[in-house]
Symmetry: D2
Subunit: 301 residues, 4 copies
């Protein structure tokens, strides 16, 4: 079974699945920190060369991963701490963050599918300022320096008939933000990562990523402005989980060719995903934590 | 009290409020039909000159008004008939409707305010085809000729920090529809019109109209394509209802200047609206009726 | 115009509308406090006799009113302070609150009508513990003493065909709480009270109160346990606002008999209400503030 | 692997998984019909003895299963036909349906988890009559004979702290319906059954069934009135799918004991489920189809 075919949106997970030690370090630089107070492990994975990109399956850029075991627990104070940790990482990775910026925050995903609603739900709790600043000036907030924040929930193609990239590009052309932050629910390979991992990257969103499988990318190349993506895995592809479980049980789909029945099963599984039974409570907490992180970061001066 | 200052989004209502017989006919042409079967009165009001536009307070163009007493009643068959009536009017007013078109349907309003959710709710029940046609061709529907339908729910400025017109213009520039249909909840002057009147116009949406008070227009001038607007009054401005009631009681706010207290009351009233207590059931039925009308019209060949 | 016919759910407002000084004090005791820090005026109105009840139109009992000008402003810290103020008042008015209790919190109102969704929205953010305590004991929370909290959103009669009192009584009979707290959106007489006033009373909910006009009461008499009601006015009856405005303009509906047209207008107005245009944001903030107050109060030991 | 341990809420699926031919027929009677027009296979499985019940794992009673390949397709006319088919089966299985009844329809499940929202969504489109009949009589509908319909959405224990059975029992004690119909999203064993199968049974709901895993039963024994359950599988347990896939790949979890890692994986999988990516569209269509079936059946005279 070729690990590169296994679907994961997490660069760190892809990295861990590479077994060859030499491949693992060529064009890849990894820094790890552990924050005692929040029990959070922060891994900064830098894909620095095309070789590294090829091995990892992710574009050149920086991937910050926050892993924390308690992300889904009901502890308001703890979530506040994680929000602050995330805010700090954002302030670092957003280019020129100490200069005033016009920031567009995009919440990807389908509001009507609980596991895919992370992005839209984050937007619901954002503090939006662009329209007030445009109309009344920063004086309305008693400030002389502040970021202008706008937001967009583009929805999904099955419901609006358009590529997400078409909507986002159109809105950027009209409103001229300096930087875009995009939030998305991701698919992990391992159920152990579900709801426990946050990935921040400066490489944007690439085709095939996210629960909703965006067909076109949202990147600096396609949109003309830096794109910071924040993703949290909320599902595992059903096909992946079956393959992994089978493999863990000592068996493998390969090398013998699959029977027609096996092919059909895998085909159906590719239109399905695995998620936790309390996904509503999980998404509620995670989206609040991310929106707080953004609100904290955006009010940095 | 100058009637032109009374807020109504309905051209017909504005027309009725003009008392001067000569003004009433200059630059205005009115045709009326009554459909027995559906108890529906259809009035086509054509504003043909700048004089007519000045008197009526509405731009040059056609305003079709369907008035029907039973719009809010729970009768599925009846609603189907009204949907078909509305579909017929749409087919007539949409330019070149017998040619294949790419149609963008925009649902204005705030999904989280029941009385303002008509537009977003209509979009929820639309049959969207553009993405399927773009990817698989019309053959996917066993057709050689069909309209491509896409949709957009732009949301409200208080939540996304952008003008609706910025979002709509951006999306049109990227997706190139031939015609746009926009759905909006309107404000009427009289509570007797609430939920009983449908207005279709080829003049688009103008600043200050709708429950949500859009600041910028959505018109052929600003967007470059024909804009057909479908509106149903679901609220009355609170200030209007107070003025009207006072006037009906034989009293008038004018001519003596208002006291400070009266000014304050009117100011607060301008941030309020009047709506019916069963607004949720009303909006549910009306939005289904409009989405069915659009689905019927769009499947015309 | 008989002031007792004017609809208000607020005992304090009813009290203020009594003009006769003697009537105003007979069987009524009023204490006022002003809290500088939160700009909150707290009025405790005790209806102590049947005479007082008759004059005020409210049952014998205690009515605590918190008035604060900033309730709707976007200031998280401020809302926290109001939540703590409200929690304090609750701890005082709930009988035997320092003993362990089983508390049922009921959120009245229609989730699908924004102005009426206060009750259901409060429930969404409550910390519910009864099922955990019943299954695993208080040890699951590392506590030896704690309240058991359960909740109910009964919905509205138009959608479930039942009286709210039937559902609530049934659930109480099965689950045996010691005390019930009920949250409801209220109707005020004056728009100046909208979203700025919180009423807490130990008299429960009475027929005809609330935005949704409950027909049967929810009181200690009907349910057998103490009922504490928390209400916030989110609407004004449309008929009331018209009468008041007319009266303020120096005119009155009375004394001459109303014309048929005037009667019709008033009749239609009684099925309508007035609410603020940003009712969605208002309800979101108010419901969060109330749920926090309950969570704070319930975790008192 | 003991098939009786495999979780399925479908009696037909449990029956199919029994391999022993003698066991398969003892205490079990099976009738099959195929309706050409709707491509629907209707299987009536009667569990007639305790032996049959033990083998099948389902209580004594009747289980009608409608299987139809096109349930999820977007074809309004087709869904109408299935609704009528379902209505017919309901009229047959509800006791004394030709006599006037007071019917309580209960929508189980969690409205905030898309795959579990079937029950609550069905209730949203029901035609509710009990309160009108109680207040104005059947004359309000111009009828002399009609069923009185009420509804209940009890929610889930994690949010209200109560057993569903406590709420349902309380409401029945207060409102005295003659029969209860309960709608629930089910868990199937095979992904091939997802969204394609409807089960109707007169045995009610049993502990451990449904997506949300109700702990206490809702049956004639516990509630005192006949309970008809309508269920549609919308998820597959993640543990089941992994076991099945492994088994289909020629491997089995057994007979060798599982490693600790394997045990952990299975444990985590038991808190997860598999569902289709377009679960929102599927649930929308299925719930509309069921509510139409109920509305058709209830208006039988």
């Amino acid at each position: 079974m070729n690990s590169s075919k296994i679907r994961t949106d997490l660069a760190l997970e892809a990295h861990e699945n590479i077994e060859n030690a030499e491949l693992k370090t060529r064009g890849i630089k990894v820094d790890e920190i552990f924050h005692e107070q929040t029990h959070t492990k922060i891994t900064k994975l830098h894909v620095t060369t095309r070789n590294g990109s090829h091995t990892n399956g992710k574009p050149i850029g920086t991937y910050i991963t926050l892993e924390t075991p308690n992300l889904v627990e009901e502890d308001e104070d703890y979530h506040r701490e994680i929000s602050m940790e995330l805010a700090e990482q954002l302030e670092e990775i957003i280019p020129d963050f100490k200069k005033e910026q016009s920031i567009l925050v995009v919440g990807l995903g389908n509001r009507d599918v609980t596991a895919d609603a992370l992005g839209p739900n984050v937007i619901d709790n954002l503090f939006i300022t662009r329209h007030i600043i445009n109309t009344y000036g920063k004086a309305a907030y008693n400030k002389t320096k502040m970021h202008a924040v706008s937001s967009l929930v583009p929805g999904v193609m099955a419901k609006n008939g358009m590529e997400t990239s078409e909507i986002v590009k159109g809105v950027i052309d009209q409103t001229h933000p300096n930087v875009m932050i995009v939030i998305d629910a991701l698919a992990a390979r391992s159920i152990r990562r579900l709801n426990r991992t946050i990935q921040i990257t400066n490489t944007g969103i690439h085709p095939g990523s996210g629960v909703g499988n965006h067909r076109n990318g949202l990147t600096k190349d396609t949109l003309g402005i830096p794109v910071i993506a924040i993703g949290i895995p909320t599902v595992v592809d059903a096909a992946t989980i079956v393959k992994d479980a089978a493999s863990q049980m000592g068996h493998d789909f390969q090398p013998s060719p699959l029977s027609q029945e096996q092919e059909n099963l895998l085909y159906e599984l590719h239109n399905m995903y695995v998620t936790s039974k309390d996904v509503d409570a999980v998404i509620k907490r995670l989206s609040y934590m991310v929106s707080e992180a953004l609100n904290i970061a955006f009010s940095c001066f």
